[in-house]
């Protein structure tokens, strides 16, 4: 039996985090255990320079490379093979001389000997889906059919790039060295700053079956289609050798493609000629430049009509697509596309596609008109007809308000085997309808949410990172976190009854868990990408906007970041610095806590005590002291004596009395009054005035004690409930934790009649506080989830089987039983 304790794993993680933090902390607190949660980030962030300044802006000498591509590519449908030739112009805008260029060969990830595959094999059959049956660990491990399919596909197909020639502009061969998914091309002479170099690469590769290998592109086969041999949808991405990024902060981005960390690329202009079977419809990054050679005049008319249509217009109708997918042709056509200032180029091709389009009048100077389009097979059905193109437009409408106008002439959504993936001007989205026995196609509510959600998310990626060109291979959160935050905004503007976006409470389970890494971790090393790179940063930005900065400041700063880095390459420090200096709020503590640490939010209210002002006037204070004494419970001893009927000496001898029987120890004499008057005389006028006013107002003074259990400093959101039933909200800025990050006290002064009854911390669950039990004073019994579930009656309308219930027949009025009951009720 295989039994592994959690401690091993935790120990490994610990040693990891120690090594990484050792690099970051040059300054150490070696006495006491004080942690400066507000320590400025300057010592962690890269030193500002002429390329990136201290304000988070592109610096005075900011540069980035430009790479232009002219590509001719041909799709062999039968062999599922792509053959192409590209002419690349590399413009060296850096101040440095380059002796060689690095190229990304992403298709090589599918080669047997790629690092991804070699490491994949390490676990042997144990890696994907290996599984011993529940409850009986002695049953031999099973291998999933999916994994078998993957291995068989990889064994049967020669995968990865075949690079046949790399030549300079004069046709002279260039030396190249392939290193996994990367290739170094040695230049005949160093490329000087400001110069460009032209070279060409001839390449070919066999396209992977997406469903078999779970890639970001590939083909999907439809064997049931009427055409003999069926049909395919081809989604082509990472399909041509692309230049690696060369940057001011990292030099060449020599990070092997392992599958998870996505891409970082240079902007450039593309002219791409795509040769496919003549009955295919092609969707691609950019604008079609030869519509007359590939579209019928009818299709071109429809496209024209779509520009001003209220709802999407079919350029290729369902009937036409169905007729198309039944036949096939030996003829070929070449679709020509042009795309300016994009960081990548992707395309899709199939004879199965129907195609709808609708113009989006964005206005503004940059791109007043955008054509939104969708391409999908019959399997997409009504779901796609109704919602795909509309979702594309909704995304542009919302995102533009928070960032900048959509900068490209087209925005497309294509249905294929990929669940969701983004490229400039084109996105691949997976949702489908189900074919029912009666031939109709239906879809569930969840699939509808999926379609709208995924289109918003992927089109959102055209802004981040396709235009705000963050480094995905390094920092997944920079595009996924920002985009998940924004898609939540766009979703809630679509229909807030659908549960969109990220609520702070969604992330508490992850944030209190033991094994995690900071958000600021390289993509491939993140342990759980979903909560770490999507949910946690999105929740953090949500809290920053709604709780800490407020919408006005946040939106201004976020827009500033977007505009500054539009068509440029930001790093995390540029984001942190811009948000801080554009909002005018010191946020270093926030970035430290949420992005650089694994602390969680757990603020407890430990104690509340009341204080009352000493008036110094014995005629007031002594009376109060007497009352305090009287309010104390009397001694149990005395009480029991009373109960037993013990007769007291003083009662038995009531004839013996003296002065002290009528004057207790709180009796005020002139001695105290004289002292008081002397005290008053000694006060300066302002002191006397202040005291007089305070005595007159007789306010309530409460001291609230808080402790920070989770470690992450956050503002304290308070709800004060008074004895008269009224409530007040109070916001204590995070800065209260600055000098004592573990414990703080807050004085609260209320009017005489406003007596405090209870205090709650973050009652609206806005800060991702992981433990709400310690958020109340006095403590309350907070039912656990299971307790709460058992207690509440099920009112959850979502679980009604409406599809079945809707077929219920309405009972007629003359139903005798019902009539009888009605009468009785009256």
């Amino acid at each position: 039996m295989k039994t592994r304790t959690i401690t091993t794993f935790a120990a490994l993680l610990l040693s990891l985090s120690l090594t990484s933090s050792a690099n970051a902390t040059a300054i150490q607190q070696t006495k006491g255990d004080f942690k400066d949660k507000f320590r400025q980030l300057e010592e962690v962030l890269p030193t500002p320079n002429v390329y990136r300044n201290a304000a988070g802006e592109p610096g005075e000498n900011y540069w980035q490379q430009q790479v232009d591509y002219k590509i001719k590519v041909s799709l062999d449908e039968a062999k599922r093979r792509l053959t192409g030739s590209e002419k690349i112009t590399y413009q060296n805008n850096s101040p440095y001389k380059l002796k060689y260029l690095w190229v990304q060969l992403d298709q090589n990830i599918f080669k047997d000997d790629s690092i991804a595959n070699a490491a994949n094999n390490f676990g042997g059959i144990g890696r994907r889906g290996p599984y011993t049956k529940a409850g009986d660990a002695k049953t031999p491990a099973k291998i999933s059919l999916g994994e078998l399919r993957r291995q068989q596909f990889m064994a049967d197909n020669e995968l990865g790039y075949e690079i046949s020639a790399i030549k300079d502009s004069k046709g002279k061969k260039l030396n190249f060295t392939v290193v996994g998914t990367q290739m170094r091309i040695d230049l005949p002479k160093p490329l000087k700053s400001g110069d460009d170099v032209v070279f060409s690469i001839d390449f070919a590769f066999n396209i992977v079956e997406e469903d078999a290998v779970s890639a970001r592109s590939g083909y999907e086969h439809f064997e049931k289609d009427e055409r003999e041999g069926g049909n395919d949808i081809f989604l082509l991405a990472q399909w041509f050798p692309r230049l690696h990024a060369y940057t001011d902060y990292e030099g060449w981005n020599n990070k092997e493609f392992l599958g998870r960390g996505e891409f970082t690329l240079e902007f450039g202009d593309y002219e791409v000629e795509i040769n496919v079977p003549a009955d295919h419809i092609v969707s691609a990054t950019g604008v079609l430049t030869n519509p007359k050679s590939v579209l019928t005049s009818k299709q071109r008319q429809r496209l024209e009509k779509a520009k001003t249509a209220k709802r999407p217009v079919f350029v290729v109708t369902e009937e036409e697509a169905l007729a198309n997918e039944k036949e096939g042709t030996n003829k070929r056509k070449t679709w020509k596309f042009k795309a300016d200032n994009v960081r990548d180029f992707a395309w899709a091709s199939s004879r199965k596609f129907m195609w709808d389009a609708k113009g989006y009048k964005q206005g503004g100077d940059d791109m007043p008109f955008v054509m939104a389009m969708s391409f999908y097979p019959k399997e997409g059905g009504d779901l796609w007809k109704k919602y795909s193109t509309e979702s594309v437009i909704h995304t542009m409408d919302v995102y533009s308000r928070y960032s900048f106008d959509y900068p490209y002439p087209t925005a497309q959504s294509v249905n294929g085997p990929v669940g969701g993936m983004e490229y400039p001007m084109i996105t691949f989205n997976g949702p489908r309808t189900e074919l029912q026995k009666d031939g109709s196609r239906t879809y569930s509510q969840a699939e509808k949410r999926f379609l709208i959600g995924v289109v918003i998310h992927e089109v959102g990626h055209i802004y981040f990172p396709m235009v705000v060109n963050s480094d995905e291979r390094q920092w997944t959160w920079m595009d996924e976190g920002l985009n998940s935050f924004l898609d939540g905004i766009a979703g809630r503007e679509w229909d807030p009854t659908i549960p969109w976006g990220v609520e702070p409470r969604d992330i508490t389970g992850y944030m209190k868990s033991q094994n995690q890494v900071p958000i600021m971790t390289q993509s491939d090393s993140v342990l759980r990408l979903g909560p770490n790179a999507y949910t946690k940063p999105a929740a953090a930005l949500n809290i920053l906007r709604e709780v800490i900065l407020g919408r006005e400041l946040f939106d201004f700063a976020f827009k500033e970041y977007s505009e500054r880095w539009r068509f440029k390459r930001p790093t995390p420090s540029d984001f942190f610095r811009t948000m801080e200096e554009a909002s005018g709020v010191d946020l270093d503590w926030f970035w430290r806590g949420w992005f650089y640490s694994t602390d969680h939010v757990d603020i407890a209210i430990d104690k509340v005590y009341q204080m009352r002002l000493d008036t110094h006037n014995p005629d007031i204070d002594y009376g109060r002291l007497r009352q305090i004494e009287a309010d104390k419970p009397s001694s149990l001893f005395v009480e029991r004596n009373k109960t037993e009927g013990k007769e007291l000496w003083v009662d038995r001898n009531s004839d013996v009395t003296d002065f002290y029987d009528t004057n207790d120890r709180f009796t005020v004499t002139n001695k105290e009054r004289n002292k008081y008057n002397k005290f008053l005389k000694g006060l300066k006028p302002w002191e006397r005035k202040t005291l007089e006013r305070a005595i007159k107002e007789d306010k309530n003074y409460y001291v609230l004690e808080f402790s920070n259990v989770g470690g992450l400093v956050m503002p304290i959101l308070l709800e004060l409930t008074y004895k008269d039933g009224s409530k007040d909200s109070m916001y204590i800025p995070a800065e209260i934790w600055r000098r004592t990050p573990k414990q703080v006290r807050k004085l609260i002064v209320t009017d005489k009649e406003k007596e405090l009854a209870s205090v709650a911390v973050d009652p609206g669950w806005e800060t991702a506080d992981v433990d709400v039990e310690n958020n109340h004073y006095p403590r309350q019994i907070i039912p656990s989830r299971v307790e709460a579930y058992k207690a509440k009656k099920r009112t959850d309308k979502v679980s009604r089987d409406i599809m079945k219930d809707i077929k219920t027949e309405l009972k007629a009025d003359k139903d005798p039983k019902q009539n009888k009951k009605d009468k009785k009720d009256k």
Binding site: I6, A119, R128, Y131, A137, A446, E458, S799, D801
Partner: protein
């Protein structure tokens, strides 16, 4: 040590070649709460609705609909219960009672419980939900109410995991 650490990391980061969109998270979170007030071990499993939507179509039938069909919801809750097992350190089964399930926004919750046995010094746990279906599924379990939170991750070929109090 450094070498084995490296290998472990490589295998870890390979488990998830997730597409850019996290709508389908293939990740569930569970809490085993030792509730001193009720004397129960309370188990709450949280699944993304969208994960379950796809899962039920593979697990049960193509038209299974977890949003609107109570039958599918019950089926899925039963499936989760079958896949989640607790034992004492000595290997004695700690049978759990099904409490129920509910949909809350984008999450599907399944609840179970059992009386906390006396003198429990740790538990062995197995959480196989959706892992046979999806190799990249990760099930995180937080153990609460026994000092600081402990976390177990069920992914890849993790079988029974152990936590000691």
């Amino acid at each position: 040590m450094p070498k084995s650490l490296y290998i472990l990391l490589v295998s870890l980061l390979l488990i998830a070649a997730t597409p850019a969109f996290a709508h389908q998270q293939k990740a569930a979170e569970s809490t085993v709460l030792f509730n001193k007030r009720t004397g129960q071990m309370e188990v709450s499993h949280r699944f993304y609705m969208h994960d379950t939507e796809h899962a039920v179509q593979s697990l049960f039938d193509k038209n299974a609909d977890i949003i609107s069909s109570k039958k599918t919801q019950q089926q899925f809750a039963d499936y989760v219960a079958q896949q989640f097992l607790l034992q004492t350190l000595a290997g004695t089964n700690l049978p759990l009672i099904d409490v129920g399930y509910e949909v809350e926004g984008k999450f599907f919750w399944v609840y179970q419980e059992a009386v906390i046995p006396s003198a429990l010094v740790g538990v062995k746990m197995f959480n196989g939900a959706l892992r046979e279906l999806w190799p990249t599924q990760i099930n995180m379990v937080n153990i609460e109410g026994k000092g600081s939170v402990r976390t177990l991750y069920f992914s890849e070929n993790e079988d029974w995991l152990v936590t000691k109090f």
